[in-house]
């Protein structure tokens, strides 16, 4: 829902990193987005094209998104399971004492520059 705001932040960070590395052009940005991070890649890509077209450094820049699967850990039976499939309740022992161990990532992994 807030993909536009997120794109603004990514572009700002990438521009800073590119400047620190004396790059003249950013060709590609690779993100790692968790499955339950509330960011929808499809919308992110849509906002991305628009925002990059306004920046000389980033015009036409490709956006690659790696999805990190969401995994939850159960404190009681110490099993891990898929969050999207089973949610908060452990499918092995029925416990509610569970927490997300991965799947909420919003990270800029790497950028490709010339």
């Amino acid at each position: 829902m807030h993909e536009l705001g997120i794109v603004f932040h990514i572009v700002k960070s990438v521009e800073e990193i590119a400047a620190e590395n004396q790059a003249s052009k950013v060709n590609k940005v690779v993100l790692q987005i968790g499955e339950v991070s509330t960011v929808i890649p499809y919308y992110l890509k849509d906002c991305w094209k628009w925002k990059c077209s306004k920046s000389e450094l980033m015009a036409g820049c490709e956006l690659e998104i790696e999805t990190i699967p969401a995994v939850t850990f159960c404190e009681d039976c110490e099993e891990t399971y898929g969050t999207v499939e089973h949610g908060k309740i452990c499918p092995y022992c029925g416990s509610e004492h569970t927490y997300l161990i991965q799947g909420n990532e919003h990270e800029i992994k790497e950028i490709e520059v010339t």
Partner: protein, 223 residues
């Protein structure tokens, strides 16, 4: 020949916002201005709650209100009738306010003589929770007609709030399926430290407790 290079970044998308937020918090602390980020869904009663809060506190402290809306000044007009300093921030279509936008608003406002500033965030329980605005503390309003299941549906919002006001408590007799016990349990499971206060912005019920919370917060902040 390879004419490009890959730079490994490994940086959170929110890192630059978090840095802006920290900076704003430091600036506000140096000025002694307490900034409360107030969030809720549309229609939960943010503006009515603010109006009553202002009327009870304006003789003892300098208050400022920042109204964030996508594109209107309905709330700013309503608040400015109370006589306190008000500024309208337009997010230009964005569903939330980030630290940089808040900082621009604060600078435009000039908060040096203000003790207590409330940022009325965009009415939304999803996006504002993701972005640290640089506020001193976060508050949210959940109104009784919205239902006691909201903490289950918007867990991030409830997990970042220092205080949750349950507004429209005068309607509890009508919305009799709203369980106070269930809502408190759900909130505290996500956020054991969150303070839950029942109020009615319409009748004034519970406001002594809410005003008490603000007074205590400001006292601790100034020390």
């Amino acid at each position: 020949m390879k004419d490009y290079k890959i730079i490994e970044v490994k940086r959170s998308i929110f890192e630059d916002n978090d840095a802006d937020a920290r900076k704003l918090r430091e600036e506000l602390a140096a000025e002694g201005t307490y900034l409360l980020n107030l969030m809720s869904s549309p229609g939960a009663g943010k503006t009515t709650t603010l109006k009553r809060t202002i009327s009870m506190l304006k003789d003892e402290m300098n208050i400022g209100i920042m109204e964030a809306d996508i594109d209107s000044d309905v709330d700013a007009r309503a608040i400015s009738e109370t006589g306190v300093r008000t500024i309208q921030i337009h997010t230009g279509g964005m569903c939330h306010l980030d630290a940089d936008m808040t900082r621009q608003g604060i600078r435009e406002f000039g908060t040096k003589e203000l003790d207590f500033v409330v940022l009325e965030n965009v009415g939304n329980l999803v996006c504002p929770a993701e972005f640290d605005t640089g506020s001193t503390k976060n508050a949210m309003i959940l109104s009784v007609p919205e239902g006691d299941d909201k903490p289950l549906k918007y867990p991030l919002m409830f997990s970042i709030c220092d205080v949750v006001l349950i507004n429209k408590c005068d309607t509890l007799s009508v919305f009799d399926d709203f369980s106070e016990e269930a809502v408190e349990e759900r909130i505290h499971k996500l956020n054991p430290k969150a303070e839950v206060i029942y109020v009615s912005a319409k009748t004034g019920e519970g406001f002594d407790k809410w005003i008490g919370w603000i007074r205590k917060e400001l006292k601790e902040y100034k020390n």
